[in-house]
Symmetry: none
Subunit: 241 residues, 4 copies
DNA sequence: AATGAATGAGCATTCATTCAT
DNA sequence: CATGAATGAATGCTCATTCAT
């Protein structure tokens, strides 16, 4: 279930081949510290020294676990994506109804990115882009995996007639994630803790309308008519008894 | 008409008090060169040397017109915002109908950001974020001004009942600009020239649906359906007894 | 006359395109300082900081005139070779007699390398070798040019029968320069200022013997015989008068 | 037989007091690995990590047997010198005739340095130079011991009149080893496997000529020639009067 | 007004070496 | 005895910025 996702050269040239327990803890510590620093200042303004200081260790130690600053950053991003992707992959299919699934994704995304102080948001959204083409591919794949659960749902919904089929899937995705990103940005800039649940409801509501087949209401009306017809039939049948 | 927008320290430490005609031309040249370089490499990777070289002048000259690299970049961004803001302020009010106005804004935004080779796009979208708090305010105001025309239209539309009034205005704005931003990112990453007009139509269409007031008749129909359904259920239950 | 010798990328990425008088002086200063430091410690142990300090300037200044430490070192080596090569190219052809030419080259080499404290010797001989293949070619050419005057003389002498023709030219060259190198090394290690002139005479003497055609003495005997024959003939002629 | 040669601080700071059989084997393993790595990359570019990896042991282990990288390298060099010195000390005296002894030394030197892939050559020739004064003495002594057999032979030959006595012994030595060093350099740079035997013969031949005493008979012949020449000149002059 | 020249402050990365386990 | 882990100390190189001319 833990997708390897084009696992590229990650080990530093020097040392670290064994996976001792202490080793593993260090890796996690460094990743955590790096995440916090990178997400606060962005890639360029982050110095390896600051990450080291935050852990009270030497810069050299970092480079004995990660082969470069760039690599460390990529690992941070990958970790974040992997975590949230796994949750979505597990949870989304269990939810019944497209609308509820969309709502889940929206809420989860908002909550996740909000609690990290929007730092990861900046990191994931901005820095991921400028990645030297070397990493561009990795980032792209991570993103694909992350949005896949929703994409799958929407694709199926299009085929089932629950979502308008005349719109390209990527556009639907952009609306979902783009809207959320700006919402998050607002919160960050204004530093106002938002009512996430309310926002999630509102966003989902509007997105649902946006995605609705132009005649969804008529569809409902149709369904209603057949329900009533059924009932009438039953009434007729009952009257004869 | 040229909003001063919290004109903070922009002048270089010394010099530059007179604003001769020659001076003004230089400022524009530098801004133009800076725009092209910044938008090609992004803020961090751009060097003042490269900007200077492109103009065939010395780096020192740049610093005699702009306080710092950061300042120069901000001026570039500001200039871009000012230009497009002015266009929107002039054009939007002349357009009849909320939907057409929305469409205009969407199309204009996509076209403008796309034609600069995705350079300004990256610059405005990414680099604007990391602005040290010093400039955060300026950026915020530029954005406010830029989105103001659309906000005004939407606000009025809410009051007029053309746009659902149960959604906060900023959320509507975030949907509009957020969706577009992601669409642009996609184009940038995939390097596929998009059908801007088609995309603009599609986006506007979906946004319009999202913003549409929930129609009274449909709401009533829904309620009616529930009532009938309940009645039918009672009948079914009662009939068998 | 100033051979360009595969003039490769030398300018630093940054600045320094003009060749002002001040500029030129700086270049020379830096080259001089670099020569002294490189030749004292060798390439690896020399730090750009030390070179800068010796001049009382900043490291950055060095890098504004030379694009890398390696490049600076190569320039130093090239300069040294160019200077002495030019002298040899001019002087050697003016000297009459192969033996005298050999003596000149030996003495010049010893004097030149001795007065620099044998530092250049180490630098030129040792560091030149490990040059990343990038510079290997340049070094090789410099060396070729430097030894060319002697090589030319020896080649001609071989054809003229003054130097034994049964030995490969490079081997002759290696004997000349190899012997001198070790002599210099001895002086350096023992820190005893040598009698250069005496050493030059002795070395030349032995080399001359080494290079002598196996039957050079017989050649001299031949010549002697004809001289005597001539004299006798003259005597005979005189006797008749 | 294993000359201690100013055995300076060689033991690591702590540990290693017992010299168990296992210990000794380790020392040899490390020396062997170090020799191969040092001779491939040179001192500066060799990392202790690489040596350790080649043995499949940890860097720390190396430092528990050798005080420092520098020390390890010196040991390697010393070992090499000791080995070949011992051979020379044993073999040279058994050979009959000065010329044959010279030939043996030359050939042995060329073969030995050539067969290690020019690696030891570079190491011994180049890196030996830069030895901090701390080790300079050791190196000097190693060299002295190494060249001693030949020196002894030459000294005796001088006394016996087989080698010209008017040249300082060190100069003779420098010619021998200097010539060979340059020959080796050439091979290294050009990467052309040489005909060692041919080269040894040629070199020995020329060196033998260089060292040959100026022959009495030829000297006398020369003098005789001068006398006759003078006489002839006088005759010529007198005859005409 | 323009700039050539100089630089201070950084910064990622390397590596020999130490030491507790 | 061996080593995993950690690091201090460098080091080459960059670049925005200043200032005398």
């Amino acid at each position: 279930m833990n997708t390897p996702a084009t696992a590229k050269a990650t080990e530093p040239a020097r040392k670290r081949a064994s996976l001792g327990a202490r080793s593993e803890r260090r890796v996690k510590e460094i990743l955590a510290a790096a995440r916090s620093v990178f997400s606060e200042h962005g890639y360029e303004k982050t110095t390896t020294l600051e990450i080291a200081r935050q852990l009270g260790i030497s810069e050299a130690t970092i480079f004995s676990y990660f082969k470069s600053k760039r690599d460390l950053c990529m690992q941070v991003i990958k970790l974040w994506y992997d975590e949230i992707s796994q949750v979505l992959e597990e949870e989304v299919p269990r939810i019944g109804g497209v609308r509820a699934q969309l709502h889940f994704v929206v809420r989860k995304h908002l909550i996740t990115l909000m609690q990290e102080g929007t730092g990861m948001c900046k990191l994931v959204l901005s820095e991921g882009r400028s990645a030297d083409d070397e990493f561009a591919g990795l980032i792209a794949e991570l993103k694909r995996r992350y949005t896949a659960p929703l994409m799958k749902v929407l694709a199926q919904a299009q085929r089932a007639g629950e979502v308008r089929p005349d719109m390209p899937l990527p556009l639907l995705r952009d609306m979902v994630y783009g809207s959320m990103e700006h919402v998050l940005w607002d919160y960050m800039v204004n530093k106002t803790k938002p009512e996430i649940d309310v926002t999630a409801d509102q966003l989902t509501g509007m997105l649902w309308c946006a995605f609705a087949p132009v005649r969804r209401e008529l569809g409902q009306l149709d369904q209603f008519r057949s329900e009533v017809a059924d009932a009438l039939r039953r009434l007729d049948a009952g009257g004869r008894e």
